[in-house]
Symmetry: C6
């Protein structure tokens, strides 16, 4: 018997077709890893997840970003027709722009402590009453961590802290190959309970984009790869036709 509560425990992304593939949405109150190669659509999917949250579900969102990419994301949202500047003014969307050197300043005896970062995230989440949160990307976050052994431990800590804040989160991570199943630091897929893979496959000089739920712990979902497109006007659309075959 499946507990009713478990099945309702989902946060729809609002991205056309994607919630159907996930059988309802992201696991609420947990973190989902969105992983893929450069240009596979991670940032676009993550920003749409927050944007639909505000536009369709009235849930405020926080976008944690590194390497000064907020202006580009803002421009992209405008292109897709989202009133991002209005939302920012109303306090419904907040960018938390983490300077690439923050992590340096809090080094502690041979390893890093992301406690300061977590505290800043928490203040923003509380102020905005955010229900959705994005960290884009883990590659940038851990870039300067001197000892890669701590990626695993720190990733768990951050995910736990987000769970305590009650947000449904997406973290993006970078892959070098479409099909080798491993992100930049080699453990991201193992640590996080839920994993979406975006692929941008080159097939006879044409590109084909697919999304796949590789791991959803304790949550039913469709398996295998589903085609999607990124349209200059409507953004991401996972193809509903693919369900029929």
């Amino acid at each position: 018997m499946i507990s009713a509560q478990a099945q309702l425990d989902r946060t729809p992304t609002g991205i056309s077709g994607l919630d159907e593939v996930m059988m309802g949405g992201l696991p609420s109150g947990r973190t989902t890893l969105v992983t893929g190669t450069s240009g596979s659509g991670k940032t676009v999917v993550a920003m749409e997840f927050l944007a639909h949250g505000i536009a369709e579900f009235g849930e405020p969102g926080v976008f944690v970003t590194f390497e000064e990419s907020a202006p580009v994301i803002r421009a992209c949202l405008l292109e897709f027709g989202f009133p991002i500047e209005e939302w920012e003014r109303e306090g419904r969307w907040e960018f938390l722009e983490v300077p690439t050197d923050l992590t340096d300043s809090v080094e502690v005896v041979g390893r890093y402590d992301f406690g300061a970062l977590v505290a800043r995230i928490q203040r923003v989440v509380e102020r905005t009453h955010a229900k959705r949160l994005v960290i884009d990307s883990l590659g940038a976050l851990f870039a300067t961590l001197p000892d890669k052994r701590y990626v695993r431990v720190e990733l768990v800590r951050i995910a736990q802290a987000l769970a305590r804040m009650g947000v449904t989160a997406m973290m993006t991570s970078e892959r070098r190959e479409e099909y080798d199943g491993i992100s930049l630091h080699g453990v991201e897929e193992f640590v996080l309970d839920n994993v979406l893979v975006l692929r941008n496959v080159l097939d006879e000089e044409r590109r084909r984009r697919t999304v796949e739920v590789v791991k959803f712990r304790g949550a039913p979902h469709h398996t295998g790869e589903w085609l999607f497109t990124i349209d200059p006007r409507r953004g991401v659309t996972v193809l509903p036709l693919a369900f029929m075959s």
Copy 2:
């Protein structure tokens, strides 16, 4: 001549079809490695092994977990219809949640000592009279071990300690590729006497799950890959039809 005692020396997992593949169950009183990529079903198989032990064989179980995954496992068990909270109250199932930093605190002259962890496990096993035990996962356990040469030695020690406690154990370990035959630390399959491999193969955009007994020392078993499914209601089912062909 096969000694009768040897053939009886099995602990059925209770997972539909899996005991038939293993010709009776896991080798009793020993440790079996369950290895696979992210999302291949290791945690689900491990939790069902404990759950069926309680529900069908009256054997209490201990689930050693890291990286705060107990709540997710609890939710998953509920979805599969197991009264995990009741079992926890009755002392028939116990989660031993190991903080990711435990291992740090017991560092000894250039290497780690898992003695403190083993002592904690033993206390819980004695208190619960557990017959089954899961350690999920070796990747998390050894994540911060500074010198990987000691993985092999420590793994043997822990497996020996479990043998002395008399439990039948599953340890999970993580792989990066479906078919390269090697876990995260490179020696797990060599050290442990019994190895189950779970695979989640992508075949023309569809996924196919298989389980294989790769090593069962001193124990007959079926060879090759067997299809299995994870159903939102019934959990893992190894397909009995596959035996006929």
Copy 3:
């Protein structure tokens, strides 16, 4: 709805056929990575981007180069029929030749500081009123950086500084394989928002050159690989016929 401003926000390269593939040109005021194997045409594409900027759009340009390659680039521009020496005299094209040891001299406590380089670039940009800028190549720039962890951080800093100067930039980076998707330092494609890949594929003893927009953040573009040629007289031509199929 796509904001009109977003669509106009492009800087045409003037390279025949390439602007059509990019649906207008490079994202203005941002940096685009041009990556490919040795001999794939990165330097030729980059120099033509600047040359057409001057010849057709009246925009001055700065070419930052390492390893004393300015004379060769000058000779190549002459071959393609561009009056490079005239432009240099008129202050419309400036080479900023960075000695390979510059970076050594500004080493700071275990890492490098590219601040001095950025300051020099800024002075040249201001003096020439440059609208276009090329850095050729990141491989040479970061060759002697002792700690590769800082490539990511420093790359972001330089790209941000260029954005503040208001130039539309191309940075070239080197790949070892046509299809493995990763540049010399392993993070270039992740850090930069826009990525063009040049390929020089060996197919039954013949070479085929292709260009592909792999990532254009927030900007519509054609996908997949497009054939191009490098002609001794006309330089780079992306084949317009390929659009029809």
Copy 4:
């Protein structure tokens, strides 16, 4: 002209079919490497080599083991119908169980000295008048050797010491892949004069076991791969039919 003495210089394993593949047996008084992936049958082949030596040729044997695997080997021998406990009581089979930390205690100025281990082996060989000896496995033996450069030197020393003791020996070593031809420490196949490879190949979801003599220095043998099975009752059988085709 082949010297008669050379051809007789073989020690039959007694394993059905294997001596025919080797054209008589293992080179007497030397060490043969038995290498394969996890579960390929190394330990089973090694234990049968000793067991048949006692049961059919009246030659006592010593089994050097690490990581406390003696009990499992004992159980496996019982399953195959060998009276291992009786043999142990009679002093015809002796397990030399090497604690995984022995090697630590004899560390000498930056490298390891296996002299103490060799001395212990010699005492057991003399006491039992052993003619056959197994070391299972080199992976466990060298696991904690800090400087892998010494694997080669130490392996030679141990093999020489065994030769002086007059025993015919099998050493097992672990491979990660069926067909890449290299054991865990990268030199085992080069150092030892005789090499048997066991393979467990996955072919369309079925497993196929093969054995091959890859190197027998100065000794004629059949070449190529030969099928074998591991039967719960009869243990290893190399298929005689395969000789006919």
Copy 5:
């Protein structure tokens, strides 16, 4: 418009067929990398480049060599019918034999300085009025450089110094694979402006030799692979027939 001067700016190798592939010869006054696996013909091509320079164009040449290979090269030239000893006596060909330890003696604070080597080369070039120069090979030159980060910088320096001396140069570098596109130190192809690849492909137990211009910066050339042979009498011949298809 191609400047006439640019097109004349070539130095014919005199190797039958090769100048046609390069559309005139090597870029004059610059360095060309000749890269290939062991036995692919690098040394033969390099020595013929110098020999034809003397025999057909009256240009003296310097052959910089390491690892005492001058006698073998002399013998090979004699076999091809070149009066090397006569040329050496007349001062038209000079071997500069660099002892493999030279580089050791000029180590400077954690890196190497090839200044002494460059000075020696310059003296020989001035004395012989050499117009052509060969360095065979970069693998030997950089073998003992302790920090591989400096290969790139040093290679640039040496190539610049040669350019200032006014010689047309060939440097050879070693590859491990025919088609992976990368030399021993991983940057040779990126640093040098002109790259010739020699291949010796094994095709069904037969060898096929090919030459390809992979990069000629600012210089037209034929693309793709061209067959060549090494004849005991006539040395290297690139097949002219291959042009017609």
Copy 6:
């Protein structure tokens, strides 16, 4: 014109068929690398080269060996019908057995000096008036060299010393893969002027042995792979029939 002297400058191995492939034999007075995987036949080819030298050409030989393999080589020669013990008594064949620790004792400031070894070789060569010499193998020789950068330099030095002694030499080196073209230390094929590759290819469960001249500097030879067999009576035979097709 090929100088007559050059063509005569060969030392026939006496191995049936091999001298035809090499068009006369090994380059006299130089070193040839014999490289291959474990069991590919390197030691057999090397010992036959010396044995035929004594039996058919009256040339004494020295066999430098490591890791105490002399007894095995002696036994193998006896099997092939060579009176090795008689030759040793007569001083026509000498084994120089290098203890695996010799190299340790002569360590000099952070690198190794093989001068002592070379001096010992020279004394034996002078005493025996050897014309042929084997070093089997480079893997064993360089096993304990702490800094692999010196393999290249030391290999050159040893080859030069052998050239000064006037012997025609074979050195064996070990490969991990049949077709990747690279020996254990990664530079052997680049340093030595002459390279023979032995292969033992697994083709549908059967083995096929081939020999190929990959590099013979300044010396004509047949190219491609040639089949050979190792017969228990006659040793190595390269198949003459293969020349006709």
